[in-house]
Amino acid sequence: MNLQPTTLQKIDEVITHYPVKRSATLPLLHLVQEDLGWISPEAMEWIAAKLELQPINIYEVVTFYPMFRQKPIGRRHIKVCRTLSCALTGGYKVCAEFQKQFGSQPGAVSADGEVTIDFVECLASCGTGPVVMIDDDLHVKVDLARAQQLSAQIKAGAKARSTP
């Protein structure tokens, strides 16, 4: 398990917050996903061993919550809201635009490994649709032009990283 030293530190720390180790399952899953982007089978087994549980106990939790990812994800995570308010204001078109920009399907990692686009349920900013979240940043009133702009920013960032 290739976890950052800081993640490992946080994991050891958070386990001490609970009277029984098992209770630390969710916090550990969050920490691992934050670090690695997804929860691999190896990660489930690692967490199980860490908490003195069986892998099935972790697998149950991972599959229960849709926000735990069981597949690797691109470097940036683009979530486009598909719920009613955003759908009415053009969320579907925005999602299609992002797909065109990166040539990838929802849920899949783009060929360059840069993004994963997800078409998700309500992002809780329904008055300002269409709403898009890129990693932890919320973007409101994303029309086609804004979607193109955001895509360009992501691509520029990727380029900057690959040409030192």
Binding site: I56, N57, Y59, E60, T63, F64
Partner: protein, 576 residues
């Protein structure tokens, strides 16, 4: 006047009837004591409570007290203490009885709960009872008859789930039938100590599974099939073999070790189809090992001995018995008449108490030493013990042996080498597997009584076929010194006499007194001669067995470790 109750009993009221129940009894069991059934799926008396199926909803009330003074509030109309009924139903499995608890199971509201739970359970259920192994013993089927509406209001598409997942080598799962009660999950974790099962995904997509790459492979996996209230977990061996209502149940005992788990043998027209555990709270609760469930296959095994033989040539039972008598009394066989100076008897810890009793009599008649074959393996700390003989204690009780059997028949082996033994009478034991060599057997004449061919039966001068535990009746004494009986499940193989008939024939022909060859005839003799079995008869032996006074053998270094409901007593004076 109301009698004061013993301190551990409390009074509860079930459907208007007062009943005394032990403290800590849950409402399902309290109702059961009042002969009221509370339907349930996830609750199992031997597992922890999970309270997830909601089938056991009942109305619950507690005696009213004044909030300030805690004085009972009386109802002027009846003169009794008022009952505060909870506004919502409660699950009976997860609520323990408290003094004065009132339970109502027969109201319209409770009926409504049961109907609704049933309707919800059935919306995604495949309703494939005609091809389901559980049909006839399915809780969902039973409760749907009682609480189902008879037709479905569900017009949507049903969920589709895996129909034949191999959870392990012996268990096949039909996920569509699973009602997510989690009994199997709890059993694996709590009893089998092998936490491999779990539910993945959620809502109506929840699916029972093992962690990828793991299997439900422990030696107790088939208990999940027994406790699954529906047909989701099925035995791969029994799957699609037989409708259960055609099967006859016979109480029996698991002979794989000295635990003596109580079992039920299911047969039809003389053929056994499966073995399941029979509840005995002092021995095996409601469980048994998988390894004990396949033992019935020995009955129809290809290597079964079905005919008597003399020097390898098939003969009649009478001739074989006569030849045995001749050998044992020194009148025949390959040693010159009258020159036999040594007969040894090898008895068996797998024989029944009755057979061991007769074997002792035969040995006494012949003044022959008796050896018992020891069968030791590691115990699993659950329901298979280290002593793989089911009836070592029986051999002690009947006096067949007075010390625990030694490894490898070493005394007998030395006696053969010293030329002191010419004839060996083996009651069901393979002498070569037990430690004698082929060269040693070549020096003696062997009379073998047994069920299956083996290295000994092939070299024996006289072979007399006997019956398996499923084809005869008798008793065994388990590691707790509990005398337990088993009943004949299927008729014996054609042409094979009951072991007791053969043994008592030998005894009589050797000049012993006629003791009879049936359990009814033998037991009065056994009860009269064996002190700890005094007043016991086969017929009156309770189905849960009878604990014998084991003081006589308390000092012996028994090899069993701890198992369910059994703690070894460290022998006095024996240092470990």
């Amino acid at each position: 006047m109301i009698q004061p109750l013993p301190s551990d009993l409390i009074t509860v009221n079930v459907d208007g009837k007062d009943i005394a129940v032990p403290k800590g009894t849950n409402m399902i069991e309290a109702a059961r004591l009042a002969s009221v059934e509370v339907p349930h799926y996830c609750y199992h008396p031997k597992l922890t409570i999970s309270g997830n199926c909601r089938m056991c909803l009942v109305e619950m009330g507690l005696p009213a007290v004044d909030p300030a003074t805690k004085a009972p509030l009386m109802d002027p109309a009846t003169g009794k203490q008022k009952i505060n009924w909870m506004p919502r139903p409660t699950i009976a499995c997860a609520t323990n009885a408290s003094p004065g608890l009132h339970i109502r199971t027969n109201t319209a509201a409770v009926q409504d709960c049961r109907n609704s739970v049933t309707e919800f359970l059935l919306i995604n259920h495949p309703l494939d009872c005609p091809i389901c192994d559980q049909a006839g013993e399915c809780k969902l089927q039973e409760h749907s008859t009682a609480y189902g509406r008879g037709y479905s209001r569900f017009v949507e598409q049903k969920n589709v789930k895996p129909k034949r997942t191999q959870l392990g080598p012996r268990v096949t799962l039909d996920d569509e039938r699973c009602i997510l009660c989690s009994r199997c999950v709890r059993f694996s974790k709590e009893v089998a100590q092998d936490d491999v099962l779990g539910f993945i995904d959620r809502g109506s997509y929840s699916t029972l599974t093992c962690y990828p790459g793991k299997q439900l492979a422990n030696n107790y996996s088939l208990n999940t099939v027994d406790l699954c209230p529906v047909g989701a977990l099925t035995s791969t061996d029994f799957r699609f073999k037989m409708r259960v209502w055609f099967l006859k149940q016979t109480p029996s005992i698991d002979c794989e070790s000295s635990v003596g788990a109580n079992t039920e043998v299911w047969s039809r027209e003389g053929v056994i189809y499966r073995i399941t555990p029979r509840q005995n709270d002092a021995v095996n609760d409601t469980w048994m090992a998988d390894s004990g469930r396949v033992l019935y296959k020995a009955v129809q095994a290809a290597d079964r001995l079905s005919r008597a033989s003399l020097n390898g040539v098939p003969t009649t039972q009478e001739k074989a018995l006569q030849a045995a008598v001749d050998l044992l009394s020194g009148r025949g066989g390959r040693v010159a008449a009258g020159s036999v100076n040594g007969v040894a008897v090898v008895g068996s810890g797998s024989s029944t108490v009755e057979e061991q009793f007769l074997t002792r009599k035969i040995a006494d008649k012949l003044k022959a030493p008796v050896a018992l074959v020891s069968r030791v393996d590691t115990g699993d700390k659950i329901l298979v013990s280290a002593d793989r003989n089911p009836n070592t204690r029986g051999a002690l009780v009947t006096g067949l042996i007075c010390a625990l059997p030694e490894q490898k028949l070493s005394a007998l082996s030395a006696a053969i080498e010293a030329g002191q033994v010419q004839v060996i009478l083996s009651i069901g034991e393979d002498l070569i597997a037990a430690g004698l060599t082929a060269a040693q057997l070549a020096k003696v004449a062997v009379i073998y009584l047994g069920t299956h061919q083996n290295a000994t039966s092939t070299v024996a001068q006289v072979v007399i076929p006997t019956l398996t535990v499923f084809e005869k009746a008798g008793t065994l004494v388990n590691q707790q010194f509990r005398l337990q009986k088993f009943v004949r499940a299927v008729p014996g193989l054609g042409g094979v006499s009951d072991d007791l008939v053969s043994l008592s024939h030998l005894l009589n022909a050797l000049g012993g007194s006629t003791l009879g060859s049936t359990l009814g005839a033998l037991w009065p003799v056994i009860a009269a001669e064996v002190k700890v079995l005094a007043h016991t008869t086969y017929d009156t032996l309770p189905s849960t067995g009878l604990l014998l006074d084991s003081a006589t053998w308390a000092g012996l270094p028994f090899i069993e470790g701890e198992t369910l409901h059994f703690k070894p007593v460290t022998a006095v004076g024996v240092k470990s």
